[in-house]
Amino acid sequence: MIVEIGHYALVLTFALTLIQSVVPVYGAIKEDERLMAIASPVSMAMFLLVLLSFIALTYAYLASDFSVQNVWENSHSAKPLIYKITGVWGNHEGSLLLWVLILVFFGALVGFFGANLPAPLRAATLGVQGWVTAGFVLFMLATSNPFNRIPNAPMEGNDLNPLLQDIGLAIHPPLLYIGYVGFSITFSFAVAALILGRIDAAWARWVRPWTLLAWCFLTLGISMGSYWAYYELGWGGWWFWDPVENASFMPWLAGTAMLHSAIVMEKRDALKVWTVLLAIFTFSLSLLGTFLVRSGVLTSVHAFAVDPARGVFILVLLCLFIGGSLSLYAWRAPLLKQGGLFAPMSREGALVFNNLFLTAATVAVLVGTLYPLALDAVTGEKISVGPPFFNLTFGPLMIPLLMAVPYGPILAWKRGDLLAATQRLYAAFGLAILFTLVTFWMWGMDRVLAPLGVGLAVWVMAGSIAEIVTRVKVAEIGFGRGFARLKGLPGSAWGTATAHFGIGVTVLGIVTSTAFQDEKVLTMAPGDTVDVSGYALTFDGLAPSRGANYVEDVGHFTVRKGGVVIAELEPSKRLYTARQFPTTEAGIHTLVLSQIYVSLGEPRDNGSIDVRAYYKPLITLIWIGTLFMALGAVFSMADRRLRVGAPKPAARRDRTDGAAPAPAE
């Protein structure tokens, strides 16, 4: 019965989305207050209903109710509890339900906190959000219903894929989805603005926290996925330019651009039309990402044929949303008033520069991702676009962008002074040069690019610190007063500095771990020792072992430095017995920020084994940097000024209450 309640709730949601799609939007155009007023309550009702649906499905998973086809296909009574729960969204149907749940949750937030938004804007936004929800719920009901039942319930479920039984992988999709779906709100705002033919100043203030929130989660999601691939796949790589990764990276790039253009829009009333376009693009790329991953088109354009209904449906949705919103844009955008002139050398100029390069980079990634698919579909020719393509296109675009990062926050609005800005960055520049030279000195001339990369990373990091320091003028007014001012800086300033610092940290990790890593691939017999960047790695032998649902061969390794044991590593080759599924578990030891990484190949008959051992200097910085970026987003969101109409300094105390703008009263 609980399952059927969940199913009914989903159907009821669909009916509500249809009403939500039409009535408030019509009301907004006709300025009919009562019709507009239904948007908020309906958005909250939809949230409660989808939540009920989701709980019902989760219950079915927990109770191992195999009369539900989705549970039977994707669960197993012997799964550990935690993976029964994560199994809810570990499959196509369930993940769509989660997608929709987040979608209506954000809609409900707009409905709940949006009391201080202009009524037509709120109604139209929720209406557009209703379109998106309607599309996805219909998709579920028509082709991917998680509540389909089986008349004669089997006694056992089908799936125990061990690779999916991993906590990193379990958390990864929800984070990505919050990111993707967060951009749906900015999309809805953008389309609503186009429908109403007007963009209010409140628009930018509303769009920015949503962008920040979505961006924050997307950053964490991508980072987590990358770390998962690094330790679980056993190849030592953390980014493969795989289409699935690109699918999440493109909205991130576009979202980063939007984050910056929204600042210009808010402060200077400029770049309105551009920001609206970015909002449409970003969500379109999120949809494209969902489409690419969900339709099976990535394994092959021909996988479409396996389940044509799903593929075609989602393609039609995609065309409707992207095509529809772009046509609306072409038609309505000229109505939006342009404003705010600025000199090329100004904060606005710097942000435009940022947008230009980020957009170009997004296009490069998009071409690299879609070109093989398009070529295959049109000519049947099979090609692969791998890392070399992206290194050649994406890499060069990032360099000028990173060089410009420290200038952005330091240049003044409207008319900037490049010379004055440079003076404030002298120290950062000096540090960057110093680090470049030190790296040259340590590693010699054989890797020319690497020291420059290190210098660039230091430049970005030092530049973000310089911004904060010079802002409060510590040098002039002394440390004590400077500290007080530091505390008084607005959250957005801290956010900018932290996130930019994080970019530098990530770049540093990428450069050092790529350029200075030491890789040894060899066959080792027990007792053999190999030197990896000054660490002596000894293979002590292979021992079989047994886990709850797998058997494994564990390789025992000892790491010594100067004869002193500093770590023991136990990489293993696992075989999950139920499905005869082999996996590789890497052995990783973290030394402050660097890591030693060992993974195993096939054992030989004589007791020796193929080993791949790496020393990856400073590699953890890659992920630590992303944490800084996410933290920067949190600081920015906490900025009181983002909360529209929030009363003046008296309210300063509730600075920490997070993403959602507070109501007016």
Partner: protein, 146 residues
């Protein structure tokens, strides 16, 4: 600067960046993409030595030879022709005899394919799509149901 000049500077700069990005993409698409080939394509000498390609097929049973220092030799077949492949490194978990495989690398002058990447997807029943299609062309693949 006048209004017009400013606008021109910004538009000109934007145009230059986009043109540069486009040029990069075009160059990269010419040089950096890798074509998928079957052993038959290679046997017909359709592939110049030294060009990076992806080679796909089935790992012929009984041809896996393990040499010192994690180097492995095996033969990839599309049931008509075979190519000897050498690879140094850790093979993927699901690399097995008779299974589909995709390798990426270059053909050495002696005709041996030197791979630097070997892919076998994380799914036990997986035959890489390219391989499946190449085999289908040869009439040796019986479809998903098998």
């Amino acid at each position: 600067m006048t209004r017009k000049q400013r606008r021109l500077t910004i538009i000109g700069g934007a145009g230059a960046v986009l043109a540069a990005a486009l040029a990069l993409i075009m160059v990269a698409l010419n040089d950096q993409i890798v074509f998928f080939q079957s052993p038959t394509d290679i046997a017909q000498e359709a592939v110049p030595h030294g060009q990076r390609i992806r080679l796909g097929g089935l790992v012929e049973a009984g041809t896996i030879e393990r040499h010192e220092n994690a180097t492995v030799y095996f033969r990839v077949t599309d049931t008509e022709n075979t190519v000897t492949v050498t690879y140094t490194g850790i093979l993927p978990d699901l690399f097995r005899e008779g299974q589909g495989v995709v390798t990426e690398g270059v053909i050495r002058p002696d005709g041996v394919f030197e791979a630097d990447t070997v892919l076998a997807k994380h799914d036990e029943n997986y035959i890489p799509v390219e391989v499946a299609e190449a085999l289908k062309d040869k009439g040796h693949w019986q479809g998903e149901a098998q």
